[in-house]
Symmetry: C2
Subunit: 530 residues, 2 copies
Amino acid sequence: MSAGFPAEVEIYDTTLRDGSQQEGISLSVDDKLKVARQLDALGVHYIEGGWPGANPKDAAFFARARDELALHTAQLVAFGSTRRASTTAESDPNLAALTNAGVGLACIVAKAWDVHVIHALRTSLPEAVAMVADSVRWLVDHGIRVMLDAEHFFDGWRHDRSFALDVLAAAADAGAERLVLCDTNGGTLPDDVGPIVDDVRAAVATPLGVHFHNDSGCAVANSLLAVAHGVIQVQGCMNGYGERTGNANLVPVIAGLSLKRSVRTIPPENLELLTTVSRHIAELTNQPLPPQSPYVGASAFTHKAGLHVSAIARRRDAYEHIDPTLVGNTTRFVVSEMAGRQSIQLKATQLGIDLGEDDIAEVLRRLKDLEHRGYHFEAADGSLELLLRRASGWTLDDVAVESYRTISDCMTDGPRATEATVKLTVNDRRVIATAEGNGPVNALDEALRAALDPAFPLLKTVKLTDFKVRVLDSDQGTDATVRVLIDFQDPEDTWTTTGVSTNVIDASFEALLDGLIVAIARARDRGEEW
Amino acid sequence: MSAGFPAEVEIYDTTLRDGSQQEGISLSVDDKLKVARQLDALGVHYIEGGWPGANPKDAAFFARARDELALHTAQLVAFGSTRRASTTAESDPNLAALTNAGVGLACIVAKAWDVHVIHALRTSLPEAVAMVADSVRWLVDHGIRVMLDAEHFFDGWRHDRSFALDVLAAAADAGAERLVLCDTNGGTLPDDVGPIVDDVRAAVATPLGVHFHNDSGCAVANSLLAVAHGVIQVQGCMNGYGERTGNANLVPVIAGLSLKRSVRTIPPENLELLTTVSRHIAELTNQPLPPQSPYVGASAFTHKAGLHVSAIARRRDAYEHIDPTLVGNTTRFVVSEMAGRQSIQLKATQLGIDLGEDDIAEVLRRLKDLEHRGYHFEAADGSLELLLRRASGWTLDDVAVESYRTISDCMTDGPRATEATVKLTVNDRRVIATAEGNGPVNALDEALRAALDPAFPLLKTVKLTDFKVRVLDSDQGTDATVRVLIDFQDPEDTWTTTGVSTNVIDASFEALLDGLIVAIARARDRGEEW
């Protein structure tokens, strides 16, 4: 039976150690300091900074953290392992590194699966237990508080329960403050979690933690179930980073416990930071946050199906499992070819565009055609806005494009030069502008601005904040269709435009020009003078 | 208490209906037919094809499926809803559409949460129950077997258990074969699943299914827990597609039940198709499969940490929760700046490249420097191979690049023309080649081949199979650094190369040229004549 949820659960983040093992993540020491500051601002209890005894970069992190990292809430933890077999704790350089890391708290890993002791460590089970006892005691004697990561605990419990529990007991007796049951290979299914946690709680009195990996797709749920059975610490990573399929994603663990089970995790007033911190850390790890991410993804509270939109507007709590503002996210309605007339009308009304029945039918027809060719207006509100404006009869008469050209030249042992030329008619005057750039798209951007700035000086305040390229039919090799998305920002607004072509330059030009036209159209709506 | 796992669980796939609601997915009728064939090859029990009464594209799908879709294992299901309030089943066009879909099996959705009945349907609870009874009975009377999706069941049970159970009882009494408990908003946490399923099983005798969404990050685990409590059908989507955060991902549901709980799901001999079917459907939905996907992702059995590599090689079952070949996946070892000498040595040995201690140190130094600049060799085995070959003193003396140039020209009302010129020295002869293309990279590809084919005719057998562009620091706008990855294939091999630059053309040229050099180097290793 469930022991019931505890009043508070400690959030232990290992993004900087276990999370960094994810294929594609490579954090510099600067990046690690930035991630740590984000985690501290969120209010996690512990930040595992790395393994100073095994990795020079991690040692450098701890050295700089001492001077540069002023944590407000979180405690920094150094990760390490027990002493090696058939040696002493005194002589172990890895344990010494933990006392030199400048932190008062260490988490050391010990093997709790007999198979690993025999085949990986190649030592005896009694020696494996002694390694735990000696190492914990030596650290405690040297003034370091200790948590134990019982590696492969769930596999160990299933294979040799007695040895697995001996490892925990040895650590507890030697003074470990937390015993963390690790599902290191991630193979545990949720129906096993409650019975195993209950069995361990009956055997040891020390507070327990869990550390799940997501190889079975159950890491978040397994963590929540363990807490339902009385575990008081959850280890995991922001956004579920980690080796193979990742560690338990702390975002839904925090939100689920705090918002749905009244368990205190991070300070309640910080819950609304979850979305920004999750996305900020995604930037730092250079891993785009999947839009489908629970609670914090861009799609997490996005409604697409036409049939729902009007009902949702009436009674939001019947269609969303939580109020998205509680975690700093927002409800979004998107328009696509599946949208009905109602969604288009709603969007037009929001934008102050007057559309008749025939106009809407024309918009739906155009949307369907363009999406068939690879456009995707869900992500490109600026391009959708132009589509709706144009359907209402609006045009920007002042600007007409005659042609554009890019030339990119590279000499192996000489200079590289890229330039773009645009020819436009602006307010009935022909304008030709040429600019150089780091690449052809950058050069086009510069040339367009050189041509348009004199007539539209407000464009100086328009910034490009993001540029994405997606190859659509990538199996066509270099002959593939590409979709470009560009994010724009001015002092009033943000918007995104899109372009599609087999030529990345044509696709980029389309998105660039449309983005600037949106800026002009919106400024005119606001009655701003040029 | 758990009722224990059933011997078999029905896999009900709704990728074609609920999965298509995912932001970014837009399937044509052709795509839907292709997805259905993949699902049938995998051996799922049911394929929900769409909602013929609500969506013309879905109606077209069922019409074509009748003629073109010869299913071997799966049964096609049409989705619909109960009759509207205060009408009759006879007069309901949505129910009529189900009888006209050409399938013998329908799944109809009914609201099981009193809040929705009152605020969305705006009718009474008794009328809501009558809508269910009438609709199921009418379909059964018209020869259609019926399953009931009890929408918002978990929220309904928590708010008004009696009404929620009345909806199930009405469907069962009217002849529904399956009662499916839907967590439509995805808010249910795993500790609620067992008690609610147990309560329902005590109240109704009809076999139960579940349909979870992933808003709390628990859809897979909740599905597995429901099966542990006696549910015999799981509804979900391949790769977890679906609105907002997605539906329950059927991949880990199938693999978990079949491989870890001896529950029959798809035919056992088809389990090894999971990886290819998952990836094929990802291509059809045009959603790149996240490498971290449990069981089937490219990283699911990838080992990066240097300390593990040698141990894993000794005793694989101690480090992987299942044998990856059981689901058609494979173990991978990747090399990155975190790699130790051992990983580099292993890779070199695999490639038959002889590297001394100093060479390896030089490779590690180069890797670190290049990865700092944005290169990523984990995904680019071809580029890594060239790095290792060059460290061993190898060079391709026959080819030297002097320069390349691309020109892309677009007239708004006229032709678009893109051409590339490359100047090379091949076997001491200067070669200049110019080619046109759909875009600048395609033109460069054509020009390079025109220049190299006469000297290296085997390059005719080298195909480009994939081309990816990733913007690295996308907040730099059009001035950002891009990373290009190109996949190559010849009759013997596949390989991937990479290039990094602020100029997409320079990055592409680097990857293109390196890809062709790998082909030449490998052909020479095989002793093939040119």
